[in-house]
Symmetry: C2
Subunit: 399 residues, 2 copies
């Protein structure tokens, strides 16, 4: 977890070598088709260093050579690409109503995915079922011939920084769960990096890390489901996640948006979740906890009461996002979670409110794009897989 690099950073020659190899690998991963010369220029390294680094990464199967590029007057460079056929990563998400899991190639491409309804009763039974499903996934033809690099699990709650400990998951009723320790006995053959993180943070990481080409400097992921959470990832190399000292960073559902408002399940009044969240929408519209929220509301989207409720929730979400804009000011905001399936009745007020207000302080300058994920089913699970890859590339495990 959150490899605590808090202690003083210093290093030997080996550290330097690994640093440079990681940088080369990251650069090619980020911009496929880069040549050795491009890398040398951008990383401020000499041709010789890049040459030997690339050679070693080619030998180890991390990179592969592509076509010659167009010449710009002299010898054309040879394109380099991430070798996407050798490894895979496992990512999983324990949701309030579902288990979701993916196997990803290093590029982020989903090789195999599975999700199924599951109400996580106890941590133990959940771990057992998840392990079964992961083993099924590993046996599937698309991944079975690849080498596994590790597994990441995304969970709906704050996680103790530096430990594999889920502090609390209000919507599961769990508390102080060492989920990886529960998973471990069921997956003895699974080696590599094991990690767990909060679902919104995993999602934020993945949305930034698996992007290629021109990447934003930072990205905020807002996860709107049964509860509301967010994750902020920053930096291009291996993005840093803001976790907070108790793992509470991003628990935006419990920021106060209406002083003296309704009581929240946390005991405080006027939390954002009382205005926008799966459970607050259920409460207002009287939808039973056992029914699927999206399916129940689907046929009712024309009802005045539903429209009014969703518009109010959407506007509250817009305010919440505006508050994050003025607190964290990410370069890009991505909105996901099951509530995005409610469609424009819910989303349009949020987008409009943010668009109308984001320029208040600076006047018209660059826009902060707010994007809604088309299908957020596997975003968190895929993000957990991304975290595994980053740990492998930057950790001491390789080279």
């Amino acid at each position: 977890m959150a490899t605590s690099y808090h202690h003083q950073r210093a290093g030997d020659l080996n550290f330097l070598k690994r640093l440079n190899r990681s940088a080369i690998l990251e650069m090619v991963r980020r911009v496929p088709g880069l040549t050795r010369a491009d890398i040398a220029t951008q990383a401020q390294l000499t041709k010789a260093t890049v040459g030997s680094g690339v050679q070693s990464l080619l030998n180890q199967g991390w990179l592969k050579e592509g076509d010659l590029q167009k010449s710009s007057g002299g010898r054309p460079g040879r394109a380099l690409h991430l070798n996407d056929d050798r490894h895979y990563l496992l990512g999983a998400e324990v949701g309030v109503h579902r288990l979701r899991l993916v196997a990803c190639a290093p590029s982020g491409k989903v090789l195999e995915a599975h999700h199924e309804p599951f109400i996580p009763t106890t941590p133990e039974s959940t771990a057992e079922r998840l392990a079964e499903l992961l083993q099924q996934l590993m046996r599937s033809p698309a991944v079975s011939h690849r080498e596994n690099l590790g597994m990441g699990v995304a969970l709906p709650g704050p996680i103790a920084t530096g430990e594999a400990l889920l502090r609390r998951a209000p919507n599961l009723g769990w508390r102080d769960v060492r989920f990886l320790d529960l998973l471990n006995p069921h997956l003895p053959e699974l080696k590599g990096v094991w990690l767990m993180d909060n679902e919104a943070k995993s999602a934020a990481f993945g949305e930034l890390y698996f992007r290629t080409g021109k990447t934003p400097e930072s990205l905020l992921y807002v996860s709107a489901g049964t509860g509301i959470g967010s994750g902020m990832a920053e930096g291009s190399h291996s993005p840093l996640l803001t976790r907070g000292i108790q793992g509470l960073a991003g628990e935006i559902g419990h920021t106060i948006l209406q002083p003296g408002g309704l009581y929240c399940h946390c005991g405080n009044r006027g939390c954002a979740e009382t205005l926008v969240s799966g459970w607050s929408i259920r409460a207002v519209l009287g939808i039973d906890d056992k029914d699927d929220l999206i399916q129940t509301l689907g046929p009712r989207l024309q009802e005045q009461e539903v429209i009014r409720t969703l518009r109010r929730a959407g506007e509250a979400l817009g305010m919440l996002i505006l508050n994050l804009h003025h607190t964290q000011n990410p370069a890009e905001i991505v909105l996901g979670g099951s509530l995005t399936q409610l469609g424009n009745t819910f989303l349009e007020p949020a987008l409009t409110y943010f668009e109308a207000n984001q320029h208040r302080l600076l006047g018209t300058t660059q826009r902060v794009p707010l994007r809604v994920v088309e299908d957020s089913t596997f975003v968190a699970a895929r993000g957990a897989a991304a975290q595994v890859l980053a740990r492998v590339i930057h950790g001491p495990e390789l080279f």
Copy 2:
């Protein structure tokens, strides 16, 4: 400004050497009296490497040797200390009603300080006056024999990341000001690092960077004055400041705390600043902009209307801090700014609200300390000086 290390991090042998020297210097700065052996253990370097690094830092006058330490069975180690007599740093703050400036030793000790009432009319005249005062400070006996390492300026508004450009300072009426460029012609002899930053961010940086002994992992500074701003610093080595893509991170005065509330000068409704800020308190109590807020309110602190107003503002501040706790979750929160001089009528509701609500999500765990700065006059200016030191130690200028 904000040396953008966004491009891929890679390095040569020289980089490694500088990295290790910086680490050694930081460690001794953070924990005075460390021995070479302590450094070797903590930084995971060999005795030989530490020995030569320390030797070179001694030769350059950055460190000095102290007494022998108590033996723990073998030869006692020799204590190392930051040489606090050789260099100094300049820090300044342009406030809405005052100019403040300090000269600091590398330990953070204030050698000389000055502040005076000043209403910044134009950026040009402000730069001219500030330059005069800085030159006076440099001529004072406590600093004139020392070597200057540079100067930092803290300003009340968002700053473009990566540029020395003040985007906007609503309470000064300034916009798109390159303040260092205005200062430059008046201070031709001042070499070293020049930088500028937002005042709350500088303050946060300084409060974390100049602390010795056991330091928190992250620190949030909340600056409550004419407007409300915040700064978040993270990491022990050279703390990172969250700036945001447009420099808007920490503009918490414009987070919405009361949907549909009063209109704010930014044009939106229900901003935190409409509930707690120098200007909103003036507006409610009808205090003229020309009178000093603290001095005017001093004799009126028994009036019911004043008490009611300050308690309301204090409680709003408590909510705002709780929201930051659930968004950034810093390891420590420091409250400063001129409004802290209003005393307990204002502060007590804020502290109480935060204390009563910070454990809602996790139950009783470790407390996040919320501390009120005793005298925040020079906190931002000193923080700007701290930023200079960090840039010198980690930048390419030295070794």
